[in-house]
Amino acid sequence: MTGPTGARGGGDAAAPAPDRSPPAPGPSGRDTPDVHAVVSAVWRLESARITAALVRIVRDVGAAEELAQDALVAALEQWPATGVPANPAAWLTTIAKRRAVDRIRRAEREERKHAELARELAEPMHAAAEPAPGDDTDESADVLRLLLLTCHPALPTQARIALTLRLLGGLTPEEIARALLLDTTTVTRRIAEGKRVLADQRVDFTGRPAPEELRERIGAALEVIYLVFNEGYAATSGEDLIRPDLCLTALRLGRLLARLAPLEPEAHALVALMELQASRQAARTGPDGEPVPLHEQNRGRWDPLLIRRGFEAMLRARDLLAGARPGPPGPYLLQAAIAVCHAQARTAEETDWAQIAALYQALAHLLPTPVVQLNRAVAVGRAEGPQAGLDLVDALHPDPTLQDSHLLPSVRADLLLRLGRRAEAQAEFRRAAGLARNEAERAFLLRRAAALGIAVTGPDLGAAAEAFLAEAALDASSRRSYAQTLRRLRAGLGETAPLGAVTADQVVRVFATAWGDAAAATWNRHRAALRSFAAWAGHEELAAGLPRRPAASPAARPAPPPRRDLRSLLRDPGVPARDRALWRVLHESGATVAAVLALGVEDLDLAHDRARSGAVFVCWHPETTPLVAELAAERERGPLFLSARRPAPARTPADGADLCPRTGRRRLSYERAEYLFKHATRELDPAGAGFTLRTLRAGM
């Protein structure tokens, strides 16, 4: 065996004494460079258990993390001199627990706790020498508790991800930042924020939640794990299509959770889903990093070991549903079943698309998201022919989440191509390329468009729009307004769409998605901008499908959500702080949505519960001020309400005033804010459409 210590030591690992028999090499010894690597290796493997045990002792996630870090620092200081102990994990645990005891003693807590802790400390020393199998269950309960804590519903999603990676995955903030393509400051802030929320929650660190609640909390943990996996598997931005280390971290967390909650069918189903998706990892990218679509993948490169593990996890999930946990299949099980269908087909032609289409239909009942609907359309397109698929795609309710995604046009392009409508397919591939945020994917889509080999004549949409804005005699405010209309059109149709190939139908679709529900005045303003552009370009027919809308009478003003529902919504800790703050400010100030979204951190006057908006003030209730303060955090300037993501490099760069100087994130757009509110109030609306932000202003 070639361990770094070379010696086999069964001694008391609790004692940080040298384990090496040869003379200690000292800090400059030949093994020294390895020590860092060894410490971080041990840490990655052990930190979850160490931190989890500490949380139980000190009952505070923040303090537990600090203590764990202290132990890590101690190892980094001592091991180069003393050599790596025989049982590094036990060494770290013992040191950390010892420090926990010191800390509590210093704080002079009650005697009772002392006794508890003394026992706690005595046990692992014992266990280090001779691991007691009985200890295991306690330890598992600790780790499960920690995982449920870091995925606590009170935390914003981003904080859940950061905390889980930090405390369960053992990743440093730098590693998390690298994995999620964020800057370290942001990650550190999210972790700190998460710990603060947990501290405020007075969560129970020892008890076990009720079964109902436990299921729900496990559901939240599964969601976080799958988010991490997807961020690695379908890297939404950046240069690489897959970030395997992130996938691996998620897989490990999933396998861990399935062991900790062995009776939860969805936990096993998620593991199955991830194992099966990961099995295709090597085949998913071509030699130049370009994506290879599923039906073109070399199935010989799928990892049989992971496929088998996926099948096994799937069987465990199915067994539970058939026995210990009877019930209908959950969303992860359905998705895993779809992955199983693919894995079972030896060639793409053997794929059972009818079965997959049926599974997607079931999934669409549970998760009626546009992406699921779109995938269903793909499956139907394979099972019943491209026309059936295209009909489904075109029937999809235009949804803002899909509007700026390359998925919709690339699916359409595929279906059109199979129908032999090559020119339209090419246009859709180009549109998709214009929307793709991932470099490899964009290049791939452009190649597919080019492969269709239809010569493009005339200028493309992006160039034409720029030329129009530069040449037309427009005053500054019209130019800004026209630019907004054209930006939406370019986002919807793709920068590189040849102007000559744009049809009135496509324009209608973009308008319906973007402003279909907008007030008549908004619609008419964008319509006027488009007509002006179309006339300038000599393509008047482009505006043909856009009728002018009569202005709405004041009586038609939409009603606000029921007051009681609204009140609880505005206090719901499950709603992200940003959205809650926005809604409350709108509701309490009566200011216009545009004015509130335009607020900057520098406009805030928190001492007086207000913010300057031009010559007037937007005022809110003092209870809302802490929420607003939280949003501003340590920022000094930039937009108060920020979008969740940084703009991708491919997007039109925002105006400097619309970017946060610290995080680079963009100002929250009206469309997005509107969508979020509608989404959140859909259940309150008898019509099921959700309420517009404007209705918030109506009732104080």
Binding site: T2, V38, A41, L45, R255
Partner: protein, 109 residues
């Protein structure tokens, strides 16, 4: 990254006892739960040896005399670094006692 760890016995390798089985089962359980261990198993002492040389292929049935060189067990692990693989092998060796292990990175699939 994936690593294959193989274990060989030496002259001083102790015979497995009840304690070893219990500890090993706990270790395997723990590593599986942590999502690190993908596959593991012990290997039979008997085996078939195939040697090819030019066009000639010799197939020999075991058991073989030099049993001490035979691999007695393997573990396939998925970790982030070589150090993590070594750390796992260290723990394994601590449980089984005298003998030797080989830790090799797997390329592919």
């Amino acid at each position: 990254m994936r690593y294959l760890m193989t274990a060989r016995n030496t002259e001083t390798t102790p015979a497995p006892d009840e304690k070893l089985f219990v500890e090993m089962a706990a270790f395997v359980e723990e590593m599986t739960a942590a999502g690190v261990l993908l596959a593991t198993g012990g290997l039979a002492q008997e085996g078939v040896r195939l040697v090819s040389r030019g066009d000639e292929l010799t197939v020999t049935d075991g058991p073989f005399a030099e049993t001490k060189e035979a691999v007695v067990g393997f573990a396939l692990v998925e970790v982030d670094s070589k150090e993590q693989a070594i750390e796992l092998a260290r723990r394994f060796r601590r449980i089984v006692g005298d003998g030797e292990s080989l830790v090799q990175q797997i390329f592919g699939p």
